[in-house]
Subunit: 597 residues, 2 copies
């Protein structure tokens, strides 16, 4: 009887004990574990100790003392032009780059600690690749507010947030970095090879291989790959239009593609990724990589006449993965980051370091990579202006204007600026969906992500946005700076000087993007050698290919402008005088899959 009585006393104590982990007490990547109505923080290898892992160990203090602030680093890399010119052209560039590689990659948990299937570390975190991993576990399920213990008990509707903070009033061009539309489509084309949310299963599920594997060119599965191959000389299926190579028709390569019913048979093309028939920008990128693949096969075939189709195909694929990474690091990320420091890709810089050659896609990398502000509302090609509804599924315009003219036009048109109030009406619903998915995944507040990525949390809304009106609206919406939803925060944060993107994007996404490409197996000491790429010729393609090379060696002459930025001496298209204010949708929208554009 006594036992039963005791049990009755204890049950409410267990059930109603407050979970102290709700308020994120553990600092500096310490792991919170509930202990009844108390908690402990596991501070192992954080460099801190104490109840909340708040007290730095000796060497942590020393490192913190000598580490320059983010603002100092911004100043240094955006100024001292001649100093950096000297560094960029001396062997010291490798020292700087190695330090950069180490700094960014050290922020990634590899193997991952969390995934979207559990709130804690499990065997599946490592082994089940059908889940996105996550940088932080979710907000505990039993919290008094949606964001833990702070902020309002009910969050504003995603529609209100998107309309207030994200919707474009008038197109804001990226005059800071003069980013071109060609880069916008590159971002879209590039990231959809690894951001592949499996919506049927949920917002935390994915059908991705978690790597830069060129699956958007070759197909995610072997079956799709085989449908896209000719099985002759390693080449991919293609068709000739006006003397140039393009992706094959869907009749020739019957793979699953998502075309709406009104797209006629002859305008349906078979591409590695099922969404990539949707936009001429994606079609341009798909085409150039297809041409490059077949070109590389020719080069290899000449060098290795004894090789069979399979070996030519597989080796060309590895070469293309290398070329892609080369362009991503040396030109794409370089453009985004701005600064006087020349970034470059050299896998050998990590050969003596502790580094994991495996990668998993983090859901908090996917969400902020929704770069819809970059997408303009109109497209300008050789004097013709296309509204979005005329652009969508209209790959014909490439045949009409010519491939090289289209590429030239995309390099001259300026993209939208990343930041608040710049998502066009047709994409706004993607932002709404992303906010909803963030809530479903119970993502921790923006400030917790800042702490996770070694950045001081914001103290005020004004500090976050740098804009009084937005700050006031944000305070109204969330009530507490520690309760701002991460996706909203990531998109409206004030930008980093000289950079296309915001501080948090830089602090968080650099580790994932840089870490991801450097963790590719081709970068490992065992793979990084000529024989992996069919000999010195293939290895040199990997080590030297530029954006301009990629296009110019795969187009009819003349090769026009091919650039991620509209050069200073070129008059950009797509500026205000061309653009009407767009407050409401022009069409039915829906040109993007829900994962973004």
């Amino acid at each position: 009887m006594d036992f039963v009585y005791l049990a009755f006393l204890l049950i409410p104590a267990i059930v109603f004990a407050e979970n102290q982990c709700r308020s994120f007490p553990c600092q500096n990547r310490g792991v919170c574990m509930r202990e009844g109505d108390s908690y402990t923080c596991d501070c192992t290898r954080t460099g801190y100790y104490g109840q909340n892992c708040e007290t730095p160990e000796f060497w942590t203090k020393v490192k913190a003392a000598i580490k320059p602030s983010a603002e100092t680093i911004d100043y240094l890399r955006n100024n001292l032009k001649w100093f950096w010119y000297g560094i960029n052209n001396s062997p010291l560039r490798k020292v700087v780059m190695r330090a950069f590689y180490k700094a960014v990659t050290s922020k990634v948990d590899s193997p991952p600690l969390y995934h979207t299937g559990h709130d804690y570390t499990t065997w599946d975190t490592y082994s089940d690749w059908s889940y996105y991993t996550r940088a932080l576990p979710p907000v505990p399920a039993d919290c008094p507010t949606p964001m833990g213990t702070k902020g309002r008990k009910e969050l504003p509707s995603p529609e209100y947030l998107a309309q207030t903070f994200l919707a474009r009033r008038r197109f804001i061009p990226d005059m800071r970095r003069r980013t071109s539309v060609l880069l916008g489509f590159m971002a879209q084309h590039f990231t959809h090879q690894f951001f592949k949310t499996d919506y049927k299963k949920g917002p935390g599920r994915t059908w991705s291989n978690h790597a830069v594997d060129m699956s958007h060119v070759y197909g995610e599965t072997t079956e799709r790959q085989h449908q896209l191959r000719t099985f002759q000389d390693g080449k991919l299926k293609h068709q000739w239009v006006d003397g140039e190579v393009y992706p094959p028709s869907l009749q020739d390569a019957p793979v699953h593609m998502t075309y709406p019913p009104n797209v006629p048979e002859e305008k349906r093309f078979a591409i590695g990724h099922e969404f990539f028939g949707m936009l001429p920008g994606l079609f341009v990128w798909a085409t150039v990589w297809l041409r490059e693949h077949n070109r590389v096969c020719d080069v290899m075939k000449e060098l290795h006449p004894d090789w069979d189709d399979e070996r030519l195909f597989q080796t060309a694929r590895l070469i293309l993965i290398g070329e892609k990474i080369k362009i991503v690091v040396d030109e794409y990320i370089q453009h985004l980051a701005g600064s006087n420091v020349q970034l470059f890709w050299d896998p050998e810089l990590l050969f003596e370091e502790r580094f994991q050659y495996q990668n998993r896609i983090v859901v908090e990398f996917n969400h902020p990579y929704h770069w819809h502000p970059l997408m303009p509302d109109q497209f300008h090609i050789n004097g013709t202006t296309y509204d979005m509804e005329d652009f969508l599924y209209n790959n014909d315009l490439i045949f009409k204007h010519g491939f090289n003219v289209t590429v030239d036009a995309m390099s001259r048109q300026i993209a939208g600026q990343f930041g608040p109030k710049n998502i066009g009406a047709v994409n706004l619903k993607v932002a709404v969906e992303t906010i909803k998915r963030g809530r479903e995944l119970r993502m921790q507040p923006l400030n917790e992500y800042r702490k996770r990525f070694v950045t001081p949390p914001y103290k005020t809304f004004q500090e976050l946005t740098g804009d009084e009106e937005i700050a006031a609206q944000l305070e109204e919406a969330y009530g507490d700076i520690d309760a701002v939803e991460p996706y909203v925060g990531w998109l409206i944060e004030k930008p980093v000087p000289g950079n296309v993107l915001s501080r948090m994007f830089l602090q968080m996404a650099s580790p994932f993007s840089f870490g991801g490409v450097l963790a590719n197996p081709i970068c490992s000491p065992g793979w990084w050698k000529p024989s992996t790429f069919g000999g010195e010729v293939g290895f040199n393609l990997v080590k030297t290919t530029t954006l301009k090379d990629l296009f110019c060696r795969n187009m009819n002459e003349p090769c026009g402008l091919v650039s991620f930025a509209v050069p200073e001496n070129v008059e950009p298209t797509g500026l205000h005088e061309d653009v009407e204010p767009t407050g409401s949708p022009k069409g039915e929208g829906g040109f993007c899959d829900k994962d973004g554009c």
Copy 2:
């Protein structure tokens, strides 16, 4: 016309040019690439240069000069007892162990360079886990002899080889290390969690997760796992027999199990691995881990009354993976290796080293791990002798004798000695199959594997076997010491002094086994901390569990002998006086799956 004429001249030159890579010209892990009728060796990062990567670089020479020979290392570790006693009990043990970890793990290609799907490195080598990886690419397909350019044009039949070199004439007990039958079953139980050949697809295919993941307890898929779980307090389904816990009946947990039709319903048990109902030895191991899982769930439940079933289950699984690795390194491998050096598991020793926390199962690890010589022909439990046909599927005998009596008996019975002429008749067909599979996979000759694993190739057959008669028969069979098939060589090689196994097994399998367990994510700096294992209590279970603990805390008293070796002061069972010569099969055989026993 001239061109056509030239092409006709060239075609035969290409087609009939001899592939010079056939004779394995590249030394020291250099990669051979055919260049028409010539070749090049890619010596990148081998530490060697020259046409065949045969000339050591300066530091390679220095390292080679100071590195003791394998024989010297054998002498040192098998002697100097007091010296090692001092080391084993001082902080220097960590220095020795770190050096050992580094030496063995440096021999593994991670990420893998080759898999069974291609003869060269491809993206699939990294990404397609349905293939075994391989340590060496296959013998080129167009070679003049099956083993390259050396040896006979036709190999002897697998049946002849198995009968001549492997078949047991009279049971040879392992008196060198007094290995117990309990260890034999541990090997079988342990390795089948990652050696899972998918025969329907081919000898190079696998359905494994490539890790120590305890999938033989929890099931390979989530579906199977769910069938085996109670969904209460994290526990696995079980049944009570005579006051003790055993695996559930197949009715209670309807998973796929491979029982022959003559096994009655009530003798069919549901176990993580579908083959594990076959032998009482496997049933013992399945039972003890099941009990341990449920026991750990109770421990965790008491510490964390707020945890749900899923968290209890998942955390218990991580703890069991840790306990398993602890026993494998500290006791199982220690027993196999013998020597005065105390091996121990301490993941922290690699935290400052370059090391990959990912693992892939190598087909050349699977093949030599066919330890059929260890399996006796009879089993002795508490005075009763069971022939193989009475032992097979007879899990009843555990209920009859009692679990603790069975474990005690298995710890007292001596296993067979690893080496030539000691595979019992019922298992000989597995050896025949393994030789066939090695041929299908076109495995390189034994001496190429010796070179790959930095061991001087054998010069004579006598040097390989240490037995004149076998040497003569082997020469008759293969004609050339450089043409010996690896599986045959691995099994009949003379043993390493003090070790259960042979030199090549040690040189090759140590990297894969040690590397494999150390590459488990629980060993990574991010995971190796109390919170991963539910706090200090779970972490201590992982760090301290012994073989004896595992059994004694999960059995009715008294806990008898639990040992991987029959102690010197115990009279072993299973010696010659008990054993009849077995020249022919006693039953229909087939108690093993084709992957081995």
